[in-house]
């Protein structure tokens, strides 16, 4: 009976923002007080810094939140895949499934006043920063209710009030912007940090080294996070970089190598990095990879107090983008191997089940509910109209100092002189 009662609750429609609550016989899911200790899959590797401990305390509520958030992200990306194949999403669509732990773990470690800037694989980070499913899908389909009013597209999601600075198409160009965010934070003397995410492909860009140099020079509270999913589009990392040990680059900057498929490892690393960056300046997080079956412990000596580089070892299941099948440069066995052994969602699921916080059925119900939410969001987004034709010319300029400008369209005539 209690079971039926529970199921009914679970099938009640819930809005995207409401966390999982229900009157469960098992109380733990909203329990914030019981501490559960988890251990990260592998220890951290530090370069010129002492890595944080691998045991982390968490609560049932956090575990359930992680599960829910990651499942939502996973569902959204898979739905985006179908929408793309149905030609409702056009152009480029870069999917993040497999890498959700990075978005969720990072979000758990920071506040909305800290800034995040990333490249074009930004759908899930947008969601993590407080974006809604409707905004995301509407933007992907180019509708008026999208987060950028339909004018940005998949690669240009932004949410200024939550400190999400996008969403950038050109590889590597967001890293100097990220350093600029940190510069502004230092300038205004705020106690916040800026996370600049980039991929292993972008790690070979010159502007990264330039940016790292400047950030280290001026003690900027910047955290550079390399999401190493091992492939720069179709080129494996060992074919693109002489030294794929990305955390060793920019030698003077401390770095941390993290298993990016483990949300708790990511959370711990980001928390550690934030404290470090506020005290000592930039740091690099390398969410770098250990390939399935191979574990590399590369200890590096980075002396710098500033700049931290975090390397996050992670993996994407889809190809680089929707036009890339993802199987010409890697084997299906590899993909399914990672999925079996290191899937972030599965890891959280196992943790929840092993700590008896929810049953298998409850988790499946949550996933069903999320699927429904996503479908509803897509339906709502589909109803949103295309932008009006006048939107073509809005937001090109801000009406600034002086007189009405002609603008590129020459439609407005100059009005008054000041």
């Amino acid at each position: 009976m209690a079971l039926t009662h529970r199921s009914t609750n679970l099938l009640k429609p819930l809005s995207a923002a409401v966390p999982f609550t229900s009157s469960l016989r098992r109380l733990f899911s909203t329990d914030d007080a019981t501490a559960i200790t988890v251990e990260t899959s592998v220890p951290f590797t530090g370069h010129k810094c002492d890595p944080p401990p691998r045991t982390i305390d968490t609560t049932p509520k956090e575990l359930m939140t992680f599960f829910r958030d990651m499942a939502t992200m996973r569902r959204m990306e898979i739905a985006a895949d179908s929408l793309y194949k149905a030609k409702l999403i056009r152009g480029f669509c870069h999917l993040y499934d497999g890498q959700e732990a990075v978005a969720v773990g990072m979000e758990a470690a920071i506040t909305k006043k800290d800034c995040i800037i990333t490249a074009y694989r930004d759908h899930c980070i947008f969601l993590g920063r407080g974006g809604t499913l409707v905004e995301a899908f509407a933007e992907l389909m180019g509708r008026r209710d999208g987060c950028s009013r339909g004018k940005g597209g998949s690669m240009h999601f932004y949410k200024k009030e939550s400190g999400f600075y996008g969403g950038h198409g050109i590889v590597g160009a967001q890293v100097p912007l990220g350093i600029g965010l940190a510069f502004a934070q230092k300038y205004s003397k705020e106690e916040h940090v800026a996370f600049a995410l980039y991929g292993d492909g972008a790690a070979n860009q010159g502007q990264l080294f330039e940016a790292l140099n400047m950030a280290a020079l001026w003690d900027l509270p910047a955290i550079l996070v390399c999401e190493n999913n091992h492939y720069g589009m179709g080129t494996a990392e060992w074919r693109a970089a002489k030294s794929p040990a990305y955390y060793k680059r920019g030698d003077y900057v401390p770095g941390l190598k993290v298993d990016g498929m483990d949300a708790f490892a990511v959370k711990q690393a980001c928390k550690f990095a934030k404290e470090h960056a506020l005290k000592n300046g930039p740091i690099r997080l390398w969410l770098g990879s250990c390939f399935v079956g191979k574990v590399s412990f590369e200890l590096a000596e980075k002396k710098a107090l500033l700049d931290k580089i975090l390397e996050m070892d992670t993996y994407r299941y889809h190809g680089h983008s929707m036009s890339d099948p993802g199987s010409t440069y890697r084997t299906r066995d590899e993909i399914s191997g990672v999925r079996q052994e290191r899937d972030p969602l599965e890891r959280i699921r196992k943790l929840i089940l092993s700590h008896d916080i929810a049953t298998e059925k409850e988790l499946k119900d949550i996933e069903k509910e999320i699927r429904k939410e996503v479908d509803e969001a897509i339906a709502q987004a589909k109803e949103s109209p295309m932008p009006d034709s006048s939107e073509l010319f809005t937001n090109v300029y801000v009406k600034g100092f002086g007189v009405q400008s002609f603008g590129a369209d020459r439609k407005e005539v100059r009005a008054i002189l000041p």
Binding site: G166, A173, P176, L177, R414, P418
Partner: protein, 307 residues
């Protein structure tokens, strides 16, 4: 900088050195190293950094030691500076000022004599202005700093030594307005930056010969001040454009099209455009002189247009 704490300067040698052309002299002593930031030689990144800072609300002024170096930052200027306001659906404004000396100097060589206004003019979302006198330099700079749009302010290497008496009171000029330098009746001569001085020199000769040219310094390179220009064309019916950028795809080319489209009925003769030659600027003094438009060529062109 005194009025608004968010204004800062970012560039190479702007701080302790005082600026390669002394534009930011003593500012670092007054405002400190963080507000007048000496950067390493990394144009792409420090331009990106300034744009990122602008996204959060700061108002940086980016200096390119020579405008030509900003070609290295073209991606940041085009994609992130010009387009972010649009692609974010209006969420972010980028109130930066990008400035620096450009133009053909005294035998500086091809790579240091670039005129970038023609390369940047297509970028949607930015405004471009060119100053030519101390008076309009100050006014336009202030307006550019206060503008919410990204503004590229083109200065000229050879004009830094000009001296002029300017008002003590604060004044701000209009970014989108052209300046009437010399009103006249026979022909409209449109120019900007250093060519203004060549035109004025030619004007003296022309007046002696009995012509009455109207000289307008267009100042605003993007968007064009078609109001002032249009009124002038309606009066004189003849247009000569004198510019320093190259013939192909230059400001003059865009301006010619704009005038033809909008004021076709008022023209008695085709618009003539005198620009620099489509060559890399040579080092030799005589060759360099032939690259840019000289006053004698302007006089000849006016005589031909006016018969």
């Amino acid at each position: 900088m005194e009025r608004d704490a968010r204004v800062c300067v970012i560039g190479e040698d702007v701080g302790h050195y005082g600026g390669s052309y002394k534009v930011t002299k003593d500012l670092a002593n007054k405002y400190g190293d963080l507000r007048v930031l000496d950067t390493p030689i990394a144009e792409n990144s420090f331009t990106g950094m300034a744009i990122g800072a602008a996204m959060t609300g700061l108002r940086p002024i980016i200096e390119g030691m020579n405008m030509g170096f900003l070609l290295l930052a073209f991606n940041q200027i085009s994609n992130n500076c010009g387009m972010l306001h649009y692609t974010s659906g209006g969420q972010f404004t980028i109130p930066v000022v990008i400035r620096g000396p450009g133009g053909v100097g005294r035998q500086l060589g091809a790579e240091h004599s670039q005129r970038l206004e023609s390369y940047f003019q297509s970028i949607p979302g930015i405004q471009m202005v060119a100053c030519s006198t101390p008076y309009n330099a100050k006014g336009l700079m202030k307006a550019a700093i206060r503008s919410e749009n990204p503004v590229i302010l083109f200065e000229h290497v050879l004009l830094y030594n000009l001296k002029e008496r300017i008002p003590d009171e604060e004044y701000v000029l209009n970014l989108e307005e052209a300046e009437m330098v010399r009103p006249g009746e026979h022909i409209t001569i449109l120019t900007y930056s250093r060519m203004r001085y060549h035109v004025m020199q030619a004007a003296k000769t022309l007046v002696n010969k009995g012509y009455d040219p109207e000289v307008i310094d267009i100042r605003s390179l993007k968007p064009f001040d078609l109001h002032t220009i249009g009124n002038s064309v309606k009066k004189t019916h003849r247009v000569l454009i004198v510019e320093e950028c190259m013939r192909t795809g230059g400001i003059g080319a865009s301006l010619t099209t704009a005038i033809n489209e909008n004021f076709h009925d008022y023209l008695d003769a085709p618009v003539v455009c005198l620009s620099s030659q489509d060559v890399p600027t040579p080092y030799a003094g005589t060759l360099e002189e032939w690259t840019v438009v000289q006053p004698t060529q302007i006089v000849t062109a006016v005589e031909q247009l006016c018969h």
